[in-house]
């Protein structure tokens, strides 16, 4: 047992904190207000190696641990949750499956481009009619000689409008159910791949979320990721790691809520004293801090289990369910502490409140996490 950070982890945390404060936070309100993809943030994160943090150095990655990754995502998300999820998707949902399931040729062609941030990746699992029930894919891929032809529509695609490479899940054998799903690497420039209009999201407005429409989209057969029918396994394995990323994003939002609220509680006066002197406010702050720390420990526990090479599905679901709830609760309390000002876009807590909500939804809703946890408990 050891609850201290290593020197390397501290270094990553400090580096992330510095770029978050100096570069990313000053742009966050603008990114949100204009719903603009923060290209400049991504470029600067890429220079630090943060777009492929866990990818092996031979493929251009930083070769860091999941723990270091969790620390970095938290710091970046505390400044700008949109940037946090952009980073999380590229690292967890694109680089990870490519490194784990990709062929040598696929890695040579794509992995270092993605890990160095030259390219940006996106992950296409959800469909208009298929979210939590991911096995019911309607997008189909039909083999035609040395090519696959893809048809269907993918929904809620983070990085959708700007990605260079998409990991796309399709049904290759509809009769086989979830064993008939395969995953593919589809380049943005492929004919038949079309980007839908940018979604008008409540929060994470810089994430460039849109539909991806595939119409007779032909890709080379060598772009099958893993084997035919292995797609569902690839998806679930990927999402386990992704959940650590989103839990860390939630930590960042929750931490920002606490940070802003303690300062405001010291500054703002009512009835002759700083509002932080009132127990009504103190109680909210104590609960924010306690739940934040609990969420952090659960997230780090999952990250450590992953780094140790153990199965960590339960830990990741526990962390994601708890941390996302914490983020929503902390954002709610932060707005309450700020009173009327919390309802104005002049204060960042208004944005935290909108950004927090999505953490309970994407990469497995809270309901899916509870389902995973309950199933695990009843089996054990």
């Amino acid at each position: 047992m050891d609850f201290s950070l290593t020197d390397d982890e501290r270094l990553i945390q400090d580096t992330a904190r510095q770029i978050a404060r100096e570069v990313i936070r000053p742009r966050a309100a603008e990114t949100d207000a204009t719903s603009t993809f923060p290209h400049e943030n991504v470029k600067q994160l890429a220079e630090l190696g943060f777009m492929g943090m866990m990818v092996a150095e031979e493929f251009g990655g930083a070769g860091l641990s999941t723990m270091a990754y969790a620390l970095a995502i938290e710091e970046i998300s505390a400044a700008c949750a949109s940037t946090g999820v952009i980073m999380s998707v590229n690292n967890s949902l694109v680089c990870h499956p490519l490194e784990k399931f990709g062929t040598a040729d696929q890695k040579a062609r794509y992995l270092s481009k993605l890990a160095t941030g030259e390219w940006l990746g996106a992950y296409c699992l959800s469909e208009p009619d298929t979210g939590s029930d991911a096995a019911r894919q309607k997008t189909i891929a039909v083999k035609k000689g040395d090519r696959y032809v893809l048809n269907g529509t993918k929904n809620f695609i983070t990085n959708g409008q700007v990605a260079d490479l998409y990991v796309v899940y399709c049904m290759t054998d509809a009769a086989a159910g979830h064993r008939g799903i395969s995953s593919f690497l589809v380049e943005a420039k492929t004919k038949g791949l079309e980007r839908g209009a940018k979604e008008k999201t409540m929060g994470i407005r810089g994430s460039s979320t849109c539909q991806i429409i595939l119409t007779d989209c032909e890709i080379p057969a060598e772009n099958l990721l893993g084997t035919e029918g292995e797609g569902f396994k690839v998806a679930l394995n990927t999402l386990d790691g992704g959940r650590i990323g989103i839990a860390s994003q939630a930590l960042g939002i929750g931490a920002a809520c606490l940070h802003d609220s303690t300062r405001y509680a010291n500054e703002r006066h009512a009835f002759g004293e700083a509002i932080g002197q009132f127990q009504a406010i103190q109680w909210m702050i104590a609960d924010m801090a306690t739940e934040l720390d609990a969420a952090r420990l659960l997230t780090w526990q999952a990250a450590c289990a992953k780094d140790a090479g153990r199965r960590y599905t339960m830990e990741a679901s526990v962390a994601k369910a708890f941390a996302s709830r914490m983020a929503v609760m902390n954002a709610d309390r932060a707005v309450q502490v700020h009173g009327g000002y919390g309802y104005l876009q002049d204060y960042a807590v208004e944005r935290y409140y909108r950004d927090a909500k999505v953490t309970e939804i994407y990469e497995g809703t809270t309901e899916i996490q509870k389902h995973i946890i309950a199933t695990g408990l009843l089996k054990s």
Partner: protein, 382 residues
């Protein structure tokens, strides 16, 4: 960062678990109903496992566990029998603890070997008029030659009935904070009488007594540290006691979750085990999640203490979160058991009653929130 137990810690945990399951668990319901905790059980825990000396250095006959080891023992104990866990925790953390941390050599030599092997220690701070506002206590200790003379009334003394020593806080000067001193008082000292035995909601087998001091003469050498150090001693000890209560909360909650998982697999409604219904399955998921969060907070606080780092805020967070989680988890356990949860044939009824006090003693949830928030606000600046 590493959440793994060492081999030694696992061994300790398993040894305590095996002993409790074999020797204690079969008798818990009987003793809870009778409202007694036989001293023989404690004697065996002291002599066979060394658990009377968890915080006592080896040179005084203890086993000197670190804080993480302490948490593991208390969790295992609370899982089987919360009343036993609080008896053992109080003896170690605030019965022996003050003498270990603040006693002089003579006091240590006189009391610690006995507490490690045979005696039982208690702690007395609260009074009818002072709980959370501990410094408002009124019991007085007036120096008279080679003795102090104590007068006043104390309540909520865990293990009050059969303790051999009491660490008692009394006022030696008018100053609210700095006028309090701590004394070691032996059982049977003339002028010390045991009065009311409380009828509690839970922890039925743990005896909670009131003490009355009437011109009770205590030798001056039984003053702990110096005059005026009492509040500091009490608060220092309560800080370290807090993750103990967290561990106790976790043990009770774990027992409730284990019972609920078992029941959710066996009990069927509408053609399937109730655990297969989301209404029940999701309750189990919430219970597990809060339990894991509680344990991580408690272990972190304990680890910080073991590593010699500051841990007061973290201990408060652990105590606050774990106790409220324990109330939540035992509540859900009753709900999952339905009508059977409300009758004493199933142990969850006891878990529910036992859990409730963890939000109250050794610093209420409100005190923990105050400690956490005021510290954070001070650091934040404007």
């Amino acid at each position: 960062m590493n959440f793994e137990l060492t081999d030694d810690q696992r061994l300790l945990r398993d040894t305590v678990r095996d002993f409790l399951e074999a020797e204690v668990a079969p008798h818990v319901e009987h003793f809870e109903k009778a409202g007694t905790l036989p001293r023989e059980i404690l004697t065996r825990l002291w002599s066979e496992l060394g658990l009377g000396g968890m915080v006592i250095p080896e040179e005084y006959g203890g086993i000197d566990l670190d804080a993480v080891g302490y948490c593991l023992v208390i969790e295992e104990m609370a899982r089987v029998w919360a009343a036993l866990s609080i008896t053992v925790a109080v003896h170690n953390s605030v019965g022996a603890g003050p003498i270990v941390q603040f006693g002089n050599e003579a006091q240590k030599k006189k009391y610690l070997p006995k507490l490690a092997t045979e005696w039982i220690g208690a702690f007395s701070l609260s009074e009818p008029v002072s709980g959370s506002d501990a410094a408002a206590l009124r019991t007085t200790a007036v120096k008279d030659g080679s003795h102090y003379v104590l007068n006043g009334e104390k309540n909520w003394v865990t293990t009050g009935g059969f303790a051999d020593t009491y660490v008692v806080m009394a006022r030696t000067a008018p100053d609210k904070q700095k006028g309090i001193s701590a004394f070691i008082i032996e059982k049977g000292t003339p002028g010390l009488s045991l009065t009311k035995t409380e009828e509690k909601m839970g922890l039925k087998a743990s005896e909670t007594r009131s003490l009355v001091f009437q011109d009770c003469r205590v030798p001056a050498e039984n003053l702990l540290a110096e005059e005026g150090m009492g509040l500091k001693i009490a608060l220092t000890l309560l800080n370290s006691g807090r993750f103990g209560v967290a561990a106790q909360s976790i043990g009770i909650a774990r027992a409730a979750l284990e019972a609920s998982i078992k029941y959710a697999r066996e009990r069927e409604t509408f053609g399937k085990p109730i655990g297969q219904h989301q209404a029940v399955g999701f309750m189990l998921a919430d219970m597990h999640t809060k339990l894991e969060a509680s344990r991580a907070l408690a272990w972190r606080a304990a680890w910080l203490k073991s590593a010699g780092k500051p841990f007061a805020r973290e201990a408060s967070m652990a105590k606050l979160f774990a106790s409220e989680a324990s109330t939540f988890i035992t509540h859900r356990a009753i709900q999952i058991h339905g009508g059977y949860g409300y009758v004493r044939d199933y142990p969850v009824e006891r878990y529910y009653r036992d859990a409730r006090v963890t939000e109250i003693y050794e610093g209420t949830s409100e005190i923990q929130r105050m400690v956490i928030a005021t510290g954070l606000l001070k650091e934040a600046g404007a």
